[in-house]
Every structure is written in structure tokens, then in C-alpha cells.
Amino acid sequence: MARGNYEPKRPAGYAGLLAVFVLFVIFLYGPMATIFILSFQGPEGGLTFPLQGLSLHWFYKLAEGLGVVDIGAALKRSLMLGLVVMSLTMFMAVLAGLAFRKKLRGGNALFYITVASLIMPSIIVSLGIGLQFRLLDGALKWVFEYLGMVSTLETFGTSLGLYTSALGAHLTWTLPFGLLIMFAVFNRFNPAYEEAARDLGATHWQTFKHVVFPLIAPSVVGVGMFGFTLSWDEIARTSQAIGDVNTLPLELQGLTSTVTNPAIYALGSITTLVSFVVIGVTMAVVKWLNQRRTT
């Protein structure tokens, strides 16, 4: 109704605003399009225009590896870590979202911690986690020594790693987004459906499985997408909290100062493509779930 009454004419300055918006979108996507085009640079071509023919030369170069960096291995590591972060983010955010619907002791504190984690400068989180695991290393070595576990002591390197410190660092970044999305979902959730299920004799688990979850499923998929893409591209929080092996974005960051040929653009195109595929798949799944729900 409010919309129907809404002033029929365009607001003042419409043309100017439209121009700003169009320019902004070009500003957003233009540079990305440039490196996508330049990654097909011919073998003779350099980092800038003009294109010296079109080829897949730099993608082959990339597959051979850039200097000492094994791109394939880094890609696989980031993919696996992203999937683990995605699953954990979905699982934990949904559970916590459900908890916040009931009376949760310390819920306020948990909410403020969540917001704090979201806006905390990443270098601080990263430093803290790095420090924590280094202190843990010291403690572990002391314990091994005390217990006389000589062989363990000799082979022990560090507790810093992809699935320990880096995983934790990623979760401090993805979980707040997950929980805030769940808040938005449950704010609009009609509890009448649950009550109806309960009245018809469904158990708590049945109510969740057959009523609540199908209703929130599209949003949970969205939470998963946040989890994966944020982890896939994360640098700042991982930087000080990673052990001996790097994730793909960290390798990429290192390569920006050493690689001076279009292979780095090829790598950029591939990582961006992965992000776009994940976003596309998410949107398709959400659409499918929504359609299934309404039919």
C-alpha cells in the first residue's frame, strides 16, 4: 500500500544518481574484466595492453608452477579448508541461531563478542592466534621432554597448521556473518508452523527436521556460501596463524611482488572463476529450494 502511494515521479536528480550508479558498477567490474582479458595474453605479451594475440599460454605456464610455488597443491589446500570452514560455519551458526531463539544465558555477551570479532582488525586476531599456538608449542615440547618422549620431541614441528590455527582464524571471520544471517532469518520466522507441528505430536527433532529446517534451508545454503568464499579469499587473519604451508591467497599475495608475467592474471581468473561458480551454484540451489517449498 505504501508503495502504491509512493510519489509517482522519479526523485530529483535521478539522472545524476543513475550515472553515479552505472559508473560505480563499471568501477567495480572494469578492473576484474581487464585481468580476465589479459590472462589470455599471447606468449609474447606483457602485464599491460595491448594484447599480443590470444592464447592459453599463461594458463599452461601456471600449471607448470610459478617459481618454487606449487599452485595445484595450494589450490587443493584452500579448497579443502574452504569446505571444512563452510560445513562448520553452517553447523555452528544454525545451532547458535536456534539457541538465541530460546532463553540463552550469556546470550548478550556472546552477541557482543560476535560483533567484536567482526570488526576487530584482522592483524590483531591473527597475531593473537599465532602467539597462542607458539606458546602451545613451547608447552608441548616441555611436556614431551618431561615425559621422556624423545622421538615425539624430535619429530614435532609446530602445532600451527591449516586445520588448527588457520581453521580457527577463518571461523572467527565466517561465523559472525553466519550468525547475523541466522538472526535475520529467525526474525522473520513464523513460530506458528512449529507450534502446529508440536500440536500434531511431532518430537522436537521431527519438528526441526520436517518443518523448521526446510523453511530455513535456503538461508543455510547462503551461510555456507559466505563460509566458503570468505575462507577461500582470506588473507589478513590467516597470515600470522599459518604453519609451514600456505593457502592459495597467501601464495598469491607473495607472488604479486615476484611474478611479472600474465600467469598471475591467469591465476586470478581461475580463483575468481571458482568464486563465481560457488556464488552461481548457491543462487541456483536457493532458487530450487524456494520453488520446491512453494509447490
Binding site: N5, A99, I119, Q132, M225, A236, T256
Partner: protein, 303 residues
Amino acid sequence: MSSQQNTASTAAPWRISAGWQATPYSLVFLLFFLIPLGLIVMVSFWEFNEYEMIPSFTWHSYLSIFEGCTQLNDYGDMCVTLKTYASTLRISVIVWLITLVLGFTVAYFLAFCVRTTSMQTMLFVLCTVPFWTSNVIRMISWIPLLGRNGLVNQTLVGAGLVDKPIEWLLFSEFSVVLAFVHLYTMFMIVPIFNSMMRIDRNLIEAATDNGASAWQTLWNVIIPLSRTGIIIGSIFVITIVMGDFVTIGVMGGQQIASVGKIIQVQTSFLQFPLAAANAVILLLVVLMIIWGLTRLVDIRKEL
């Protein structure tokens, strides 16, 4: 099975208390957020040498960070720490102003100029998709445009506007600010758009009916009602830029100092107590800024 048992079993199984449901989530933040923060504060008071940290309680790290900061040096300059903070703050303020104006304008366009909801959603998603792609890629994508032989310089030289390529386009403060705006305007658009969508459209109509000009409506109705979004966006942008070291590193050609970069370098030299003390100071500065921003809201509400 009697019906009574059945009732009992519907109530009991799978009923998990809120506390347990929130446990995995809470544990992550205890282990990877609260404890690390506590350790930073603790270690900032420790001693260190080339190989290891030594538990103790000393202000050495803090004192060495502010060494010589009580007065200007012989050349009339501030000490390194204050200078770094000043330059980081300056970049933050510039980026904040640009993203605020740009983000507000884009959000305004989306909220008030686009008529159908489906179009609105589509354009909103268009603005947010780059957020889910790699920041480093988005940074290096400026190289073919801004480099010495980049598209901008080629065009300018070709058109005869400049004699030789402009050097300050890339690996300069300009490119750092540009990259920040490119990466983080999204953090302004989303909360401001969200606030604007909650504004009752009748209020705008009422303002117009009472003879308010478009500017008056904007200034007296829309901006005050978008306040929450503006503050949230500002907090995001300022805290990100204040602690940044990746963007300043890559886009500044590793030549521009920032607080985050100092912490990163000290960590790589294993000077953990120094890095920790710097992190504590950065945290205090950021908290003060956030406190100031939230005060700004309250004061305006009271006036």
C-alpha cells in the same frame, strides 16, 4: 507401548538446551578470539631476545614504541610511531569520507530510485558479488590500468595531455586509497541500504507535501533515519583500514608505513612482545574511534 510413555518420549529426546546448542559456537570464540586477545595483552608485558620470549612484567615494549615521542626530533619531525599512526589515520579518514559519500549515493539510488523489488534485489546483488571474490585479485587488477605503461597512461600520453607517463598512479598513496574504496564501499552500501529500506515512505511523502525541497528531505528526514546504517558502515570501514597491512602492502609497493604493517614485520622478526604492545595500542585507538562514532549518534539523538 502406553500412550503415556509416548508423550514422555516426545518431550524428552532431542530436546537440547540453548546452552548446549550455543556451545560449539561459543567455544570457537573462546579458543580463537578471547584467549588469543588475553595472550596479546599478557605477552605485551614480556621481555624478549633474539630467540625467545621471556615471561616477566615490564613496560619495555611500550616504552620502546614511544621512545622519543615526547618531543619533536632535531628535524622537527614526530617519532616513527606517531608518524605512522598519523599517516594511517589520515588514510582512514580519506577512505572513510569517500566510501561514505559514494556508498550513501549508491544506497540512495538502490533504495529510492529503483521501483521494482526484483530489480532492486538484482542490482543489490550486482554490488555485493565482488565482495565474495579475492581482494588480492581485485588489487592486482589495477596494475594493467594504472601502471607506467597502463591503460590510463597510454590514453593520457596518446591524447597528448601529459608528456611522460604519470608515476604516482600505482604503488602510491593514491592507489592505496583507490583500492580501499574499490574493496570496501560495499561495507557502507549494505548497512545504509538496509536502514533506508526501513524508512516509512509516507514520511518522505509528508515532507514533500509540506513543501520540503529534495535537499531538505534528504538532510532532515533520510540522513537522520539512515544514521544507524551510516555508523555501522563507518565502523566497518575505519576499523578495516586502521588495521590493514595487505592492501597498503600490495598497492603501496611495500613502501608505505601503516600500523598493521609494523605489527606484521615485528611478528616476522619474532619480536612478539613488541608486536603485541603495538596491537594493544592499535586496539585502544580503534576502540576510541568506535566509542566516538557511537557517541556521535547519541548526541544527535539528544539534541
